[in-house]
């Protein structure tokens, strides 16, 4: 790994670990972002066509945060996710077929159709699950980190949650305990400007959510969540710090939710201009251009890659559509282990 400095920010000497990565890995990250983008596009199609019973919260526009953070940790580390969880799940290595099947409520889905979009989980890949309760997974992540510490297994947890979740009580009580016990958790707040219709300006009286670190005596930083390289380097740095037993950190990743909150959102609370501005900061476009300019891929490679991904999504979609529904008789299965 390169020991070059990426950024010296607030005294954190964040190394440039990105540049030294293999090209394969760099391209893999682009692929993952495409997977998320096109998975969400397909999910949106399903919603429009009324094939999703329930709602979906799309991750479109925030891809760099999930992919940058998850590629910065080990594959057997844990994450916890949110109601807007497809991106985290894909980045952590879930199978797209099985995910898509879950969205359609099929027996072949991750939860056999019992969980759906809001409870997508692939525990085997270390994803401890999406969560329909805003803030609901912050305690769970903290508990996962306690396991890591008690079992001394060298693992860490990345806990994703939204800006909205940062005002729930469990944010406070959990991070405090993680701090006094030096638990290895990266609390990663995805500040996408809104919690449903409520802007962070309305919900907070502080400029940076990461400043809440002062309430717990922990480290933290606010980063550009649409810049995959910044996310990757920062989380690499802090994950490493966690792994050496120095306790939790609070990172705020600034990004933007392109879609409405969920399928029934008229978006009266924001302007078209604002959305447009943010779309110009498309994390995929930014990263792709870097890879092209650094000659890691060509334009052609890129469009091939995207096509390949779109194909894969089509396959997942077919798999999901063709999969059987669960049998009603299974309804009371799995209530207990």
């Amino acid at each position: 790994m390169s020991k070059k400095l990426y950024k010296d920010v607030n005294g954190y000497k964040i190394e440039d670990r990105f540049t030294g990565l293999s090209n394969d890995l760099k391209i893999e990250m682009l692929r993952k972002m495409y997977e998320i983008r096109h998975f969400e596009n397909e999910a949106e199609q399903f919603i429009i066509r009324g094939m999703i019973h329930g709602t979906c919260h799309l991750y479109t526009g925030e891809e760099a945060t999930a992919v940058g953070a998850i590629c910065a940790i080990q594959s057997d580390d844990y994450i916890t996710s949110t109601h807007r969880g497809h991106g985290h799940c894909i980045a952590k290595g879930a199978d797209l077929n099985i995910m898509m099947a879950e969205l359609l409520g099929k027996k072949t889905g991750y939860s056999k159709g019992k969980g759906g979009s809001m409870h997508i989980a692939d525990v085997r890949s270390g994803n401890l699950g999406a969560n329909g309760v805003v803030g609901g997974s912050i305690g769970i992540a903290t508990g996962g980190a306690l396991t890591c510490k008690m079992k001394k297994n060298g693992k860490i947890v990345v806990c994703f949650f939204g800006d909205g979740a940062a005002n729930q009580g469990i944010f406070h009580s959990s991070i405090n305990i993680a701090s006094i016990w030096d638990l290895p958790v990266v609390y990663l707040c995805e500040n996408n400007v809104y919690g449903m219709s409520t802007s962070v300006k309305e919900a907070f009286n502080i400029k940076r959510i990461s400043d809440r670190k002062y309430a717990y005596g922990i480290e933290g930083l606010t980063i550009d969540g649409n810049d995959l390289i910044e996310v990757f380097n920062t989380i690499s740095y802090f994950a490493g710090r966690c792994r050496t037993g120095k306790g939790p950190v609070l990172v705020e990743s600034l990004t933007y939710r392109w879609s409405g909150h969920s399928k029934s959102d008229a978006q009266v609370y924001r302007t078209r201009e604002e959305i447009k501005e943010w779309k110009e900061r498309d994390p995929i476009k930014r990263y792709r251009e870097i890879l092209i300019s650094r000659k890691i891929i060509t334009e052609k490679d890129d469009s091939d890659l995207e096509k390949e991904v779109m194909n894969k999504i089509q396959k997942a979609s077919e798999f999901a559509r063709e999969s059987p529904f669960p049998d009603p008789s299974e309804v009371e299965d799995d209530v207990y282990a």
Binding site: G54, K114, G115, G116, V133, G164, D327, E332, V335
Partner: protein, 333 residues
């Protein structure tokens, strides 16, 4: 019904009108909750209210259910009459200490020297594909707590009258609305324009009948009416449908009077049957109406599992018209 004028409203419109009229009449009434301002609430109940009443009285909050209820309670003790919206009834769990240990008990703990006039409006029930954490029917949990009142309207007319009574009540009222009723044109009914109260603690016979009594709550009242109609047409069975409307206080007399006539009782609710509210109904009827019963009381309710996501499973979990019909036929033997 108070007045049978022709104006048809949806459940959602009736709820909104109740709040608007009370807010116009009483400056102490205000709304507090998540996404209730510009957005108009997750289900649109408060659409337009920000424009009329302004952000001082339509108080949009961060996502902080526990604080919402604590603040509502604190403002109620000091002279306001808050209506707090908890977006999904599943999230009353986050505020459960403030609901059950604070709001519910303050009057008693202080020897009657403080009152807590507040309404917690929340959307309950499933059928929307929102899965385990957005579909629960948690009324049994709050109904058990002394100091709370629990209201579950099944139609627009009741929604308006019960909400006005709840706002006028000097105690904390948990007011549980059903998501599938909000905009449902099938279940509109005529709603008087003026303010009117439906007293808390009074049930309503939604359909008279002599063969069997069906006691139901919320959306299940509508499903029970459908089942009753089908059985009437297809088999000539004459069901009486009793909508208890308020779980607490419970109008046990309307139930007892009904079974005096029919001798048979079936209880229908959406929540998982085990430990559900209908256990209370059965227990009271067993104690007070044992001699009038000529068959065991039956419960038709949700299965003992969380609400599943997949449509096929969700329909299996939540009782529908067919399951109610089958229950009735089984009971009639």
């Amino acid at each position: 019904m108070l007045k049978n004028n022709a104006r048809q409203l949806t459940y959602l419109e009736a709820l909104r009108e109740a709040m608007q009229q009370k807010m116009r009449a009483d400056n102490d009434v205000y709304l507090i909750g998540e996404d209730i301002a510009e957005y108009g609430g997750a289900f649109g109940v408060t659409v337009g209210m920000l424009e009329e009443f302004g952000s001082e009285r339509i108080r949009n909050t961060p996502i902080s259910e526990e604080a919402i209820i604590g603040i509502a309670a604190g403002s109620a003790i000091t002279g306001m009459r808050p209506i707090a919206e908890i977006m999904f009834s599943d999230f009353i769990t986050i505020a459960m200490d403030q609901i059950a240990n604070q709001a519910a008990k303050i009057c008693y703990m202080f020897g009657g020297k403080a009152r807590v006039p507040m309404v917690i409006r929340t959307a309950g029930g499933g059928g929307t594909g929102a899965a385990a954490q957005h579909s629960q029917s948690l009324e049994a949990i709050v109904a058990h707590i002394p100091g709370l009142k629990v209201v579950m309207p099944s139609c627009p007319y009741d929604a308006k009258g019960l909400l006005i009574s709840s706002i006028n009540d000097d105690n904390p009222v948990i007011f549980i609305e059903h998501k599938l009723l909000y905009k449902n044109k099938k279940y509109t009914n005529s709603v008087p324009e003026e303010m009117y109260e439906i007293p808390l603690g009074k049930g309503d016979i939604k359909k008279g009948g002599s063969d069997i009594s069906i006691v139901a709550t919320s959306y299940m009242v509508q499903k029970s009416l459908e089942a009753a109609e089908k059985l009437s047409l297809e088999k000539g069975i004459d069901c009486e449908v009793v909508d208890i409307r308020t779980l607490k206080p419970l109008d046990i007399d309307i139930i007892l009077n009904s079974i005096k006539k029919t001798g048979k009782l079936i209880c229908v609710e959406e929540a998982p049957v085990f430990g559900g509210f209908m256990g209370e109904v059965v227990a009271q009827v067993s104690e007070k109406g044992f001699d009038w019963l000529d068959a065991p009381i039956k419960r038709v309710a949700g299965r003992n599992c969380p609400v599943p996501y997949s449509l096929v499973l969700e329909q299996e979990m939540i009782p529908g018209v067919e399951r109610i019909e089958k229950g009735i036929l089984d009971l009639l033997g």
